[in-house]
Symmetry: C2
Subunit: 558 residues, 2 copies
């Protein structure tokens, strides 16, 4: 249980996504009741060696027990839904999600064997519901996936508005624009607190409409005499619509490569977001019967991900699809920070195959962001006119700049806050302030293990990654202190065979010499022997190679 | 010795820099004679765990014996001089370098104890010299360091022009523009082959002049009420000139933080490239006696490098310099691909300190590249009018696009080549063609070791980085096959203590069970025992944790 609060206290507690891009999960607490907005994962940073994915620490969520009312999902991106299977397994709770997100979550829960145990409710803009002291109403927002929404949250002390991930696209291609009308009405009623997406706060002006991409892509299609490979994120249904319609116009049939795209298209079709006759698509087996100019291959792998279909095709390593000169490749996606090298590497391979890559570095208007730029962010603030403002979804730099931007939209500096994960904003009738933090952090998923890889394991992995290890095995007579066997040294990741062997032989001599200097009493003390062996080897490799392998002495007591 | 060539054969053999950014080293061979243009290093890619730097394989160079005439250096950047100490130690040869490069090389050779043994000659534009069958004449080019040059190389079968790293800056601030006049004269005489810098081939138009940066920086300085931290590369003397002069104009004194900057400024001052009274500078100890608006702190660390002064200051971890609100930080350098995350991380820390960062993401015209864009590249080709063209200095994507660009400058497609490291272009009076490749590759420097870390070591390091290792020690009686001691299991980097311990105990049982199934004959065969232990543990950890630790069985024969 969290500390007992006096009645009438609203607390906003980000568990993820404030201080990083991804891992979005934010707790809204009123007295002892709480729910989470989103439950996202993040891909590991470079130093998280061997980690598959990162999820938020659920400790704080679990502290509410039965008064935790569930997860309210704003949209179906991985950084908003990806941690659900892990957190639900430990701590089941209802999940409220708009249709497309619900479809994607269903897939994920099925994979994890959690579908039948999960109370998954489909929610829609304008249809509100009650959970404990909260009333929730989704509001339609435009974003780079269909069915994205913001949230209007009624609490006993006032209304909180959460933007979700959004842009104010006035000419979206997948439905109406963001529902500024409804937000304006809520603004008229009075909003206590606005939480708003900071991802693109460093961009001036307005984010171009999804519709702008159509012309850019059309002119690229017009230049392509051969096949078009089109790579984007599998859940970007608006973009998929565009490429399907462009392909129709240019007399191309769509071949979908990859499971996640097939899933996504199936779900969107079931929900009515994609509505095309089957003849629009072709099977991969039909490729050889179509002329190159009749083919669009739809793939994922826009980030050059190691096992994606596109990188395998680019490397000439895909069993069914070979790239040939005249093939064009359109990377219609942003570069996720950290992926620059692997994308560049993929582009090199595409040139090696003789293909023609179109990407943000050489072609404008083949992609537009799903996040609001500065003018849109200010517009939202002016429409909602909140008493308090809290930037969400961003690294510190984004949150700080969004906090500063609020002034330009008429929000007083002392009313715009800056929280990082675990920080707590407390709002009462009397005012708003930061209070003592709660437990928040990142949990690492590695293979089947959740949370068993922690800092010390990562430290060892980083140590091993840098200089490998040296294992020293020796057997010592526990009565005489005599060396019965060894020292035998084994190393991996330290140095190449021949050179390494010479060093290991020298190192063996060093260990023997050190043991010879020790008294019989010391030599029968296994801990002492280990420590001396470790020190001697550490010194030796530092001096001889300027390396610091992880040293593992193993003493067998005979 | 290389294979014997018939007389009159010119061969161009890139050993580094063609297929990557960095590691520039290219061999010009005529019959049995050869020299190298540049001898650069590269920082390791992400998968080269523990590697400090990467240098080119000198095997091919050594094959020329006494007919290798030395290294001709185009300018003093690390990717053109950084491998010299390593290659000179193994295979001494004369080094020809323009003054600034010679000054930087002198420092490096002194550090490596190679200064007195190296024949280092300072060369200048317009002053040519002979080496075996070659005549070499440096030609002044503008770049992001002073004393950069291209090379006019006379061979018995014609003239080769190498652009060096260059841009065609018409208003440089450190001397005259690139010497197009001289190149045009050489073009009039007839040029057999042009080698040209491909780094910026993806950029349209012209690269802005260094002078453009002055206005950009001036307007930033004008906005800064407090101290200015200015980060750029230590050898970027033109940029340092600008910031020194701007600081003078704005009433600021320069405090230089860091050894490489101090070295660089000292060398450039000795050579007359910087000429300022000592009062322009202040010591770090004087900081407290100056008003914030009187201070410019000059640092390196624009890439967020882990041990740089700037990141330590940003993290609040520098012993002498504390950052405070109102401090401004100007990152006046390009983002080197692969450094995006660490730079972004540093910017986050700067915001945390309350400082105001100016960088390419939020401020235009505080940096300009030192490499030519498309229009300049075409201009060089039109001036030199070579018979053959070979793009150098770039990844495959850059080389391929530069090859294509040559057509736009009137070079026939069959006259523009594309080589990667180790490929060989052979030019005779009869024509030019690619012939069989030579040995080329990358050598890894790790601590004191050069070349002892190879693919297999990196594979082990990557394996260890991902899942750690499990060591299994057991002692077996060589007559009875009886297990005398063990199996004792030790792991690092696999899983956190408590959970890990449970798995190790289970794993011990698994190993015992496997041994029990083996015949006495098998159990006395150490190799067989090792193999069985390895297999059993591999299977166990794959099933229980979905992880693949490196498994090291150690069997003591008693």
């Amino acid at each position: 249980m969290p500390e007992t609060n006096s009645s009438g206290v609203l607390r906003i507690v980000p568990l993820g996504g404030l201080g990083e891009i991804g891992l979005n999960c934010l707790i809204v607490q009123y007295d002892d009741h709480a729910f989470a907005i989103d439950c996202g994962m993040m891909f590991p940073e470079h130093y998280m060696l061997g980690v598959d994915r990162v999820i938020p620490d659920p400790t704080f969520i679990k502290s509410f027990g039965d008064n935790f009312h569930g997860y309210v999902i704003t949209h179906g991106h991985e950084d908003h839904i990806g941690a659900l299977p892990y957190l639900l397994r430990e701590f089941p709770a209802p999940v409220y999600a708009p249709p497309m997100a619900a479809g994607l979550i269903t897939e994920r829960l099925r994979e994890h064997g959690l579908l039948s145990n999960t109370d998954l409710k489909v929610v829609r803009p304008g249809k509100s519901w009650e959970m404990g002291p909260f009333g929730i109403e989704p509001v339609h927002m435009t974003h780079s996936i269909v069915d994205a929404c913001g949230l209007i949250i009624r609490t006993p002390i006032g209304t909180v508005v959460h933007s979700g991930d959004f842009k104010l696209d006035e000419t979206p291609i997948d439905g109406p624009p963001s529902d500024l009308q409804r937000l304006s009405e809520v603004g008229d009623e009075g909003v206590l607190l606005l939480l708003s997406d900071s991802t693109n706060v460093e961009r001036e002006g307005h984010t171009p409409s999804e519709r702008v991409v159509r012309d850019g892509l059309d002119s690229v299609f017009a230049q392509c005499p051969g096949r078009v490979f089109f790579a984007t994120f599998s859940s970007h249904i608006p973009r998929l619509r565009q490429v399907i319609e462009l392909s129709q116009r240019h007399g191309r049939r769509i071949v979908v490569v990859g499971r996640s795209l097939n899933n996504s298209i199936r779900i969107a079709t079931q929900l009515g977001h994609l509505d095309y006759p089957p003849s629009v698509f072709a099977e991969i087996g039909e490729l050889s019967r179509l002329e190159p100019h009749q083919i669009t291959l739809l793939t994922t792998g826009s980030q050059g991900e190691p096992m994606s279909a596109l990188i395998r095709i680019a490397e000439g390593d895909h069993p069914q699809v070979k790239m040939v000169p005249d093939d064009a490749v359109i990377l219609s996606a942003r570069i996720i920070p950290g992926n620059e090298k692997s994308i560049s590497n993929m582009i090199n391979h595409l040139y090696r195959r003789g293909a023609r890559p179109f990407h943000s570095g050489n072609t404008a208007a083949i992609h537009t962001s799903g996040h609001a730029s500065q003018e849109e962010l200010k517009q939202l603030m002016r429409i909602v006119r909140p008493r308090y403002f809290l930037p969400v979804h961003g690294e510190y730099r984004h949150l700080a700049q969004h906090q500063a931007l609020a002034q330009a939209a008429g929000i007083a500096p002392e009313s715009a806050f800056l929280l990082e994960n675990g920080n707590v904003l407390e709002v009462t009738a009397a005012g708003a302030r930061r209070v003592a933090p709660v437990q928040a952090g990142r949990i690492f998923v590695d293979g089947k293990g959740v949370g068993d890889v922690e800092r010390v394991v990562l430290r060892d992995r980083n140590h091993l990654a840098s200089d490998g290890f040296v294992l020293a095995v020796l057997a010592i007579d526990q009565h005489t202190g005599e060396l019965i066997s060894g020292p035998d040294l084994v190393s991996r990741g330290l140095a190449f065979e021949e050179e390494g062997q010479i060093h290991l032989e020298e190192a063996t001599t060093v260990v023997r010499a050190r043991l010879a200097q020790m008294s019989v009493a010391s030599r029968t003390d296994t801990m002492e022997v280990k420590e001396e062996v470790r020190k001697a080897l550490k010194r030796f490799f530092s001096r001889s190679l300027d390396r610091r392998p992880l040293i593992v002495p193993f003493v067998m007591e005979m």
